[in-house]
Symmetry: D2
């Protein structure tokens, strides 16, 4: 469970319990084990990846891996059921696989490869989510997940909302429910950036406008005409209000995109590039950075990566989702900024290098009024207050 008191601890105190050492707890989603689980092809691959988890360094500064501690097989036993995808259904009875939850900030943020492959083996079309925008979710899905799993999509959907576009156009959070075509027009620079980002991977995305009751017809039309001008398919999606029927237009648009012909994998960088080249490629081409600064411990980190021969791994950038840049206050399509990387840490089991472009919390704290206070269970065992 979340508890900010577990973020930084000293353990092993007391006679016979030591040695004392500083440590930290991560929540499950932030553990490298979660990323490992979601990128493993099967049990054999899972064990390989668990074995590569870097535990620390011995007195001679040689790396110690989980496999050196005999921890691989028992960990695989503990993950026995976890590796199985969960099949659930929507309110209307549609099947959905919900499996794995690697944090998008320190990991790749996508559903498990095992679930994706299971879906592909059973269905005509499999839709998966790559959260947090084209700069984070899509980039990591293409460059890490697809490259690792040897899969590649037939189409890409870019989800937009009038609210978010007004925000990127400068509207305040309180005013997002009010019609403001001028702000929305200004915010289209952000949508344009995401379109360009997906085109960098070879896709003309289908733009799905996720409708809210407060969207005005004028606003919706502006988005649609923006797409028309760029030759992009666009469909309003009202899954929240209208269920499956509310998404029918989107579904048809996606089917058309899927049937429009085969696609070929196109990555943003080759694995042969150096880690700094890879980071620069993402920062400049997808984020719009003018420059990338390597500060903090990065020079020592790169030496370690070189020593451990990990330079061929793809990079997974930890960055705010509130901006295309690494500064959450910069909206729209920021230009001319310097992307700052302060640390590069190898996640060898997951199979990528994590480049930190901002602070990352791997143990969230509870808010002042935790949701738990609103929960209850009645005498019949029915839980109340979950939503």
């Amino acid at each position: 469970m979340n508890d900010r008191a577990l973020r930084h601890v000293v353990v092993g105190l007391g006679d016979g319990n030591g040695p004392a050492r500083e440590d930290a707890f991560d929540i499950t989603a932030a553990s490298e084990v979660m990323a490992v689980l979601c990128l493993a092809r099967d049990r054999a691959d899972l064990k390989q990846r668990l074995g590569r988890l870097l535990v620390g360094f011995d007195v001679d500064d040689r790396p110690v891996f989980a496999r050196d501690l005999g921890a691989v097989r028992p960990m695989a036993v503990l993950l026995r059921d976890a590796l199985m995808p969960n099949l659930v259904q929507t309110i209307e009875g549609g099947p959905a696989l919900v499996h794995g939850g690697p944090f998008a900030n320190i990991a790749h943020g996508a559903s498990s490869l095992v679930a994706t492959r299971l879906g592909l083996a059973q269905a005509d079309v499999v839709v998966t989510e790559a959260g947090f925008g084209s700069d984070l979710g899509a980039e990591k899905f293409f460059d890490i997940v697809c490259r690792t799993g040897e899969v590649w999509p037939r189409a890409a959907v870019l989800v937009a909302t009038c609210r978010a576009l007004k925000w990127h156009g400068g509207a305040s959070a309180e005013a997002l429910a009010l019609p403001d075509v001028a702000a929305l027009r200004r915010g289209l620079s952000n949508l344009a950036a995401h379109v360009d980002n997906l085109r960098a991977f070879g896709f003309d995305p289908v733009v799905a406008v996720n409708q809210f009751a407060t969207d005005s017809e004028d606003e919706l039309s502006v988005v649609e005409s923006f797409c028309r001008d760029r030759g992009l398919a666009c469909a309003r999606a009202d899954a929240f209000g209208g269920g499956g029927a509310g998404c029918e237009a989107l579904g048809r648009a996606v089917i058309r995109a899927v049937e429009s012909g085969p696609t070929v994998p196109r990555f943003l960088y080759p694995l042969e590039d150096t880690p700094t080249q890879k980071i620069a490629a993402i920062g400049r081409r997808l984020y719009g950075a003018a420059d990338v600064a390597f500060v903090g411990s990065t020079s020592q980190d790169l030496q370690l990566i070189h020593r451990l021969e990990l330079e061929r791994l793809p990079v997974c950038i930890a960055k705010t989702q509130a901006s295309l840049s690494d500064d959450p206050s910069r909206r729209g399509r920021p230009q001319g900024f310097t992307l700052s990387i302060r640390e590069i840490r190898p996640a060898i089991g997951a199979g990528f290098l994590i480049a930190y472009a901002g602070p990352v919390t791997t143990m969230p704290g509870l808010p002042r009024e935790p949701a738990a206070l609103g929960l209850d269970i009645d005498d019949g065992g029915v839980v109340h207050g979950l939503y």
Copy 2:
């Protein structure tokens, strides 16, 4: 999971994560929440008990309970499924309810009351286990569980082994598989003490001799004749080697005991006694102590118990299971010793006072060669090395 490094920790370090404080992790079985779960009658009672969990004291030294923190309802939600008994089956298909595991050292060590009541509602005869001998498991089962749950058994079974009797007669651990009638005879003083203890609660126990392949016929006969001399039913039990058939004689003996007529609850002490009187009753009558010494923090502890008006609670003694006394090296039927109580801590949610008659570890450590190292899972998902 067990980790001795978690026995004594400092948490809440770092900016915004504090205040720093010393703390300790307990494993689930040693948590008062486990005892609460196992003694709760239903969801409503569970909430009452969770609400009485003592969290600490405020700046004015007034007790702070879980209910003061709004923690009761979310805890009850988390325990939603845990409160449901688990129905499993034996290899031969017999039904068994496996539910709850309060540590016998700091709690009462019996299966859940909910499971017991479920069994009683569905079956002619329900057998439950009260682990760690008549001094620990049986005493706590009668004085705490039966009193709390308003149930009372119709018969009592006392399990003995030739091996344990030889141990109590002075044989070394290495020699327990060798025939040694003399040692076994000496060890019968221990069996006699357990018989006397069960008679204190009103039962002539059925003695079940849990057979081992190394038991000699001479040894088994000595135990049987010991029982015959005392007018006790005795049956060999070979569940391990012979399954259900191996226990048929025992089963018949138990049925006869159950059908021999009704029993009435008989407790070792009334709840009106003071905590020290209750502890003395157990120590003198069941353990055979000549005297009870209250040392350590007990005088302050008793003041707190008085201030919180908890003197009517039954007591749950934390003591070694290796001896009837509090000294694990004293075998057989120790006499003339002083039982030392060093601390008395209220477990208000569970509904008893824990009197510590020895050191108690609530977070076991792993052995030098943890069992985990022998575990594995194959590509088909089958786990190996569990047994």
Copy 3:
């Protein structure tokens, strides 16, 4: 400075500052270095003793001494001036050497040997103090300091007060200023024990009655007649009220004792005795214990002492000064009690084994209203509030 927060700490946290470890601060007087300084004969002996300070154990469980760390010579440099005795003078101009302050609870509690030897080289008569009664100060002075320093006194002075005798006779702390001859008579059992203790070392002590304004003539006479009956010299001492003149009678009595002839060293135990024999000798003969119990870690401690070949060292018992026994609530001359030793720790530099007969704080805490709050310094640099 005193700070209870420094009694138990974790140090070495943070990158590059570790390894983290549990530690504790002692005040100077409680450090073994203080005992070393006070028992050293000269700089060469100081270095020898510093070199024997036990720092810990290496990974093969071999002892690590200060000399193994190259710490001896720099420590001796730091103690350069500390080894020099301080010559001060009384209000009347008499010379006094004030040098060293080893805590009487975990060390020997006497002034430095260097100062004693300096005094003996310069004066006809040197008076030194052995604090905390014949059971603590005198025993340690004779068995440790005199044996180590190869000195032996010519006379012994036993200081008594009517107040303390009334206390040992059962009077309350509030009533000590009131005349109570009955209580004082009862309390003489305590004085008798101290006389017997000093006779065990070969001395008929001069009894100095340290006068208070509230002492009644009746009370003083009772003490004097007690001494007369035992053939002991007795003198009233009024140094506080009358300065040097107030002690003239005592001075003359002491001179007479000194001139009465030579004395020969007589120790309570030979160094060849085992540590437990030595402790038993002190406990039975000086404290009046009926028995000595070795509990806690003493059996492991004695193994270590054997392994390090330290069995010939004298013992220094850590015990309350409020009673001849180890229970501060027992006044007068306790009989029939069991002395409990819970730990025996080697102080190899000091040259003795510390046997703990009770809790010892080596870092005192400040009271609720620290004396510091009453201190001040004026603009001219004069300090106020020190006394």
Copy 4:
């Protein structure tokens, strides 16, 4: 004493010793108390400053000062002797006052005001040192010490070495003893910056060339001609090799400067400027920064400074002494860089705001081979190995 294990600790562990809290030890020279002592005018001012030491914040986020804890007067008592300047003498018998040692990195780095004033009252000419170059020592001396103490020098001496100038001209550390006129000429840009900096305070400095045996005549001449071209007095100083006689020329040059007429205080910024303006003034005019970036916690820090009404305090910048910039690798006269301030902490007792332009250690660690290992004291009490 230095011990890196004391840089980050948890104290107050154990029953009755708490509350537990994170803390850190500073060495004396890094304590704000040292800065307070060195800037105090007299005992009354010392108490005022001690009273303003910021200890923390109460539960309502109001500042808690040392005066709120009754700590001022006892601290002043402890500093009784420390406030007195120490009069020592040079090898040739010249008097010198050595008093106070505030770290130049987190404090102002100059000798005590009390000593300066004592010198001024007794001597015709008082020379004091302001360490670490015109950017650190001189700036702090003028803007903080002189402004606080209401003193102002009559002349300024700028110390240069051929070695340092070659370093700033690009020579390697190993090559500094070899003649290299070209490197020295390039390094003169650094000397020029320091001259400009001192002129900003109104002084044409006397340049003292601190001679080394390895300086070549050519190199010395280049420095002298650099000074001549700028109209500056220049003198070779050979105090190390020639004692007082070796500095006679420098002494005469300084006397001429002192006698050349009165000077008037000229500060780099008025106290009315905001803290950011003050920092910018120093960064741009003295360090040569193109810009100043306020990062890290500075925005919250400035809010606190505003809330506590501390904006009129002068600023004391913590910066590397290895470069005029905040990057120790930039030699010569760096241009166009951005000075990064990551934290601004009030030192209210000292009377300035500390702006951190880089990492600062307030508890130095020992080197791999501590100097202590080379120390010894002989039997006669003479210490060896100090130098």
